[in-house]
Amino acid sequence: MLFLQFTILTFVTVTATAVVLTRDPAKQAIGISFYGLVMALMFFIFQAPDVALSQIVIGAVALPLMILLALTKIRRHEEEQRERKEKKSA
């Protein structure tokens, strides 16, 4: 049990650091989803099943989904801007 706790905490630390240091938000969205799962696992190991379930549905699903949707919109908008510029120059 102790070993398991130690491992998961180390894993949490590493994942969190990696998520922060990932500069591309699209990759980060995947990262944060994975991080959410790791956190949920940690909650299970530390005897918090209620919290773990919340974390799965929020941290691993709802949040990354919102982020991805926002990013999709942002990317589309960027493309649109670029095309508009090209049209102008053409």
Binding site: L9, V12, D50, S54, I74
Partner: protein, 114 residues
């Protein structure tokens, strides 16, 4: 193991702050804020933990069994909702910012200087 989880909590707070300070994209920044928030999860979780304790659910085990603290878990549930809502609001703001300023880089926004 008696201090390690606390140190993890402190590290998550600081790495989250680092991400916010150095961020060049508001979406990235919001995600870093979520990481920062996870610091409070780890803190609360490790405060309420008990060696050998079960989850505070007495469906399969009788009342009186050593269990971990249920209060911090209730607090964490609230905390998780806060995370989701704050992230949603900030993302919405970032989205609108991008629509009208065409950038998400705090370095490139100069309108609020001085």
């Amino acid at each position: 193991m008696s201090f390690f989880p606390y140190a993890v909590a402190a590290w998550l707070f600081i790495i989250g702050l680092y991400g916010i300070v150095t961020s060049r994209n508001f979406v990235h920044l919001v995600i870093c804020l979520a990481v920062l928030q996870s610091s409070t999860y780890v803190l609360l979780l490790s405060i309420g933990y008990r060696v050998g304790g079960t989850a505070p659910v007495f469906a399969a085990v009788p009342v009186g069994t050593l269990a971990v603290d249920p209060v911090v878990q209730a607090l964490m549930l609230t905390d998780i909702v806060v995370e989701a809502t704050v992230v949603a609001l900030l993302l919405a703001l970032a989205l609108q910012l991008h629509k009208h300023a065409n950038t998400l880089d705090p370095d490139k926004l100069k309108a609020l200087e001085g």
